[in-house]
């Protein structure tokens, strides 16, 4: 095989593969990206619709954690202005606590509740999901004073 055709082969294979990968990635990105919302965004932007996949972040509202008759964990995520109810049929992460930052991923059911597939709490005492912090600061600046979300423990509403 000649040098030239050898190079053509190589370039051809690379182009096909890279093209395939780009096609695959763009389709996948379109279908699988989940946007992040704070509870207030969900309401203001009318996002809540059955079957819609989202990530919702905020604080676990104090006093909202309970279990329904099937033993499913029920709680509300708040940004201190609005709240969204969440159902989670699993064991929440160790650092899941009322008043702490949390991100829930899942789909809405017919009643507008988020049926979470995954609930993320912070791993580290000092870590707060950035989105949660931003969302809280945007919704109620008082709760993010001094870069500390400890004050958010007092429910605002």
């Amino acid at each position: 095989m000649r040098k030239r055709s050898q190079r053509l082969w190589l370039i051809g294979a690379a182009v096909v593969l890279v093209g395939g990968a780009i096609a695959l990635a763009s389709v996948a990105l379109k279908d699988t990206v989940a946007f992040f919302y704070a509870p207030t965004d969900l309401i203001e932007k009318n996002v809540i619709a059955e079957g819609k996949s989202v990530r919702v972040g905020g604080l676990v509202e104090v006093g909202s954690e309970s279990h329904n008759s099937e033993g499913v964990l029920v709680f509300r995520i708040t940004d201190n202005r609005n709240t969204v109810p969440v159902l989670f049929d699993g064991i929440p992460p160790d650092l899941f606590k009322e008043g702490q930052g949390v991100v829930a991923e899942g789909k809405f059911d017919a009643e507008g509740r988020l049926v979470a597939k995954r609930v993320l709490a912070k791993h580290d005492e000092n870590y707060m999901p950035k989105e949660v912090k931003d969302a809280l600061c945007k919704k109620s600046p008082a709760s993010c004073a001094g870069d500390n979300y400890g004050s958010a423990k007092e429910p605002a509403s």
Binding site: M1, Q6, A13, L17, A21, F36, G71, H123, D124
Partner: protein, 654 residues
């Protein structure tokens, strides 16, 4: 006193590293070698002083006060030394200078070595400056507290104590591969000899990275309490991208070493692997990404890391652009050949790495536009997984291919039993287990790889008795074991993902539940005290095949840290793990606890397969070290006797 000594040693290391880089890049010679060894020794001693401060609980050291506690078991006091930002930066410096010292001891003394040590010295200098200025672990407190702040309880675990040293040996180790690549580019010589000299370092770093990532996955599996082992989280991807590029590199190095082909591409990968390590560190430490694992994040550090990444990558790319056009092209070959197969491997692995990169950084760029989005598992399953599945289809054929030209027809004919076996097993798996058809592609590809590689191995052994098995070269064993590990991993990972069952049961005392043929009876909870935690233990009586056993999933609370951990009770069975987690009590119904029971089929194949990949890598390394002396003789040193000292440090400890 000991902390000041450590601080001083770090400064000494900085001085020797700086001289090492200046001398290495200019005059070279024996002094560079000595300086590199000295840098390694000084950082090692400095790390030791920090470990001593942690073990002796010297709370006047700020880092110890923040991260240790008198009740902490000894192993976690040691691990505590690197379980935080400052300590892990010192570990980073140690691994980096350690590679430099190892290079000084084991590489043949010539211009390539001197310049590689020079570049390594430069990287080490930069890291040490950052350590001493921005994140010194040796700062003292004026008023030492009586006791420390403790360590994140989730990190008090043997697997995660060993995770950073292995992970760093892996991705910080890529810095030395980078240094040899940069040295080769400065010399203008990227040839077969260069590839042969990079390969042991690339194999070391890549195999260690494999172990580091696997340890992290094992830890996530049993410690986080949700039974997952990989989440496509940015922090995981940060280590996975250098792994993928490293995998491409250890393959393309074979091509460049044996055939002299693709030299420009190989050196590009060598540079890229370390740049991705730096990018990963930036993603993990800067806090730009939302991640469940992110720790020790600080935007200011992020800026410094970003500058470091831009400088390192920019200089290397400039060097590359200057030299690459002059690199030789190597002999001709047919597209269907071992050369072609290795190139295919590289294409797939690098495109795979690019897909992971896109999935990882897209949210970051979106965030800059004030759009907050997340890209999770579905994206990677749709893009990365099929890429790798196709790559694996080629694996047995590639392994059996020959240099220059391969006849495909006889190869395909030879491997039909493996193909038939794969189809039968895949369909059988679905029919017998009654689980999702999603297992088909993974099991199909996995069985095909394992069977095909085994057939290739049998062919190489040939007829004539078991004795010949031991006469196969170590390289062949390394390759076969790593490839079989890959096959087992894929079978395990797809089966586990598709056929995992999990359910949460609210249970009161005496209540029973069933899963995967096991019966679970909840017998209530009790409280107990560990060395530095309080625990709530459940008694659950499990019955399986007439055997009865009591297992104890726990919820631990660490008063010092003010947080808790979930300790799953895991029982191994031949088909997979039974995984029981104690949840919370249900407030509305006293005495009722939520208990999650899960079955993770073939989970050991996931970790075992990954372990085999690392073992295969280390075997290839051992083979490389053993062959080392004759191999370099065969290839006459093309370097026109750069310096007289042919000290030939060939006697590496094989």
């Amino acid at each position: 006193m000991i902390a000041e000594l450590g601080h001083l040693l770090a400064f000494l290391a900085l001085a020797t590293a700086a001289s090492q880089s200046v001398l290495g890049l200019t005059t070279g010679g024996e002094a560079v070698r000595r300086l590199a060894v000295a840098t390694g020794m000084f950082t090692l001693l400095s790390m030791l002083t920090l470990v001593i401060s942690f073990v002796t609980l010297d709370f006047s050291v700020a880092l110890v006060a923040r991260n240790s506690h008198s009740l902490k078991p000894i192993i976690y006091r040691i691990a505590g030394a690197w379980g935080n930002h400052e300590g892990s930066m010192l570990l980073w410096c140690l691994i980096m200078s350690g590679y430099g010292a190892a290079g000084a001891l084991f590489m043949r003394g010539d211009r390539l070595r001197d310049r590689a040590l020079g570049v390594q010295g430069l990287l080490t200098t930069a890291s040490l400056v950052y350590l001493l200025i921005a994140s010194s672990p040796f700062i003292r407190l004026d008023n030492p507290p009586l006791d420390g702040g403790g360590m994140n309880p989730l990190l008090q675990d043997p697997a995660v104590a060993l995770h950073p040293p292995f992970l760093y040996t892996g991705y910080v180790g890529m810095s030395f591969v980078f240094s040899i690549a940069a040295a080769g580019l400065i010399n203008g010589k990227i040839d077969r000899e260069w590839a042969g000299r990079v390969r042991p370092w690339a194999l070391t770093a890549w195999s260690a990275l494999t172990i580091g990532i696997t340890l992290g996955a094992i830890w996530a599996y049993y410690e986080l309490g949700w039974g997952g082992w990989w989440f496509w989280d940015p922090v995981e991807n940060a280590s996975f991208m250098p792994w993928l590029v490293g995998a491409a590199l250890v393959h393309s190095l074979i091509l460049t070493e044996k055939r002299g082909s693709m030299a420009a591409w190989t050196v590009f990968l060598a540079v890229l692997a370390f740049c991705l390590s730096l990018l990963g560190t930036f993603l993990v430490r800067s806090g730009v990404m939302t991640s469940v694992h992110a720790f020790a994040t600080d935007p200011e550090r992020g800026i410094i890391l970003l500058i470091g990444l831009a400088l390192t990558g920019g200089m290397a790319l400039a060097l590359y652009a200057w030299r690459a056009p002059k690199l030789m092209a190597g002999p001709e070959f047919d597209p269907v050949s071992r050369e072609g197969a290795l190139i295919l491997n590289n294409l797939f692995l690098s495109v795979g790495a690019a897909l992971v990169l896109v999935g990882t950084v897209t949210p970051m760029f979106a965030q800059a536009l004030n759009i907050s989005l997340s890209i999770g598992e579905p994206y990677f399953q749709l893009t990365f997984a099929p890429m790798m599945a196709v790559l694996l289809l080629f694996m047995p054929l590639a392994q059996a291919s020959t240099w220059r030209r391969t006849d495909l027809a006889p190869l395909l004919k030879r491997f039909w039993p493996a193909a038939v076996l794969a189809v039968v097993v895949a369909i059988g798996a679905v029919v017998i287990s009654g689980k999702s058809a999603w297992v088909i592609p993974g099991v199909l590809v996995g069985v095909w790889v394992v069977a095909g590689v085994a057939m290739d191995l049998a062919k190489r052994v040939g007829p004539g008795g078991i004795g010949r098995v031991f006469r196969l070269p170590l390289t062949v064993w390394g390759m076969a074991i790593a490839h079989i590990g890959m096959g087992l991993f894929v079978i395990g990972a797809t089966t586990e993902a598709a056929a995992r069952t999990e359910r949460t049961f609210p249970m009161h005392q005496g209540e029973q539940a069933e899963m995967a043929g096991w019966t679970f009876r909840f017998d209530g909870v009790s409280s107990a005290e560990g060395p530095n935690y309080l625990t709530t233990r459940a008694d659950i009586t499990v019955t399986h095949d007439g055997r009865t056993e009591v297992i104890h999933p726990e919820k631990r609370y660490y008063p010092v840290a003010g947080s808790g951990t979930t300790e799953a009770a895991i029982r191994k069975t031949p088909g997979g793990d039974v995984y029981v987690v104690l949840g919370d009590p249900i407030r509305e119904e006293p005495g009722v606890w939520r208990i999650r029971i899960a079955h993770h089929p073939l989970i050991d194949w996931v970790f075992g397969g990954a372990g085999l990949i690392a073992i295969g890598g280390f075997m290839a390394l051992a083979a490389r070290l053993r062959r080392r002396a004759p191999a370099t003789e065969q290839q006459p040193a093309i370097e026109p006797s750069a310096s007289g000292e042919a000290t030939a440090a060939a006697g590496a400890p094989a």
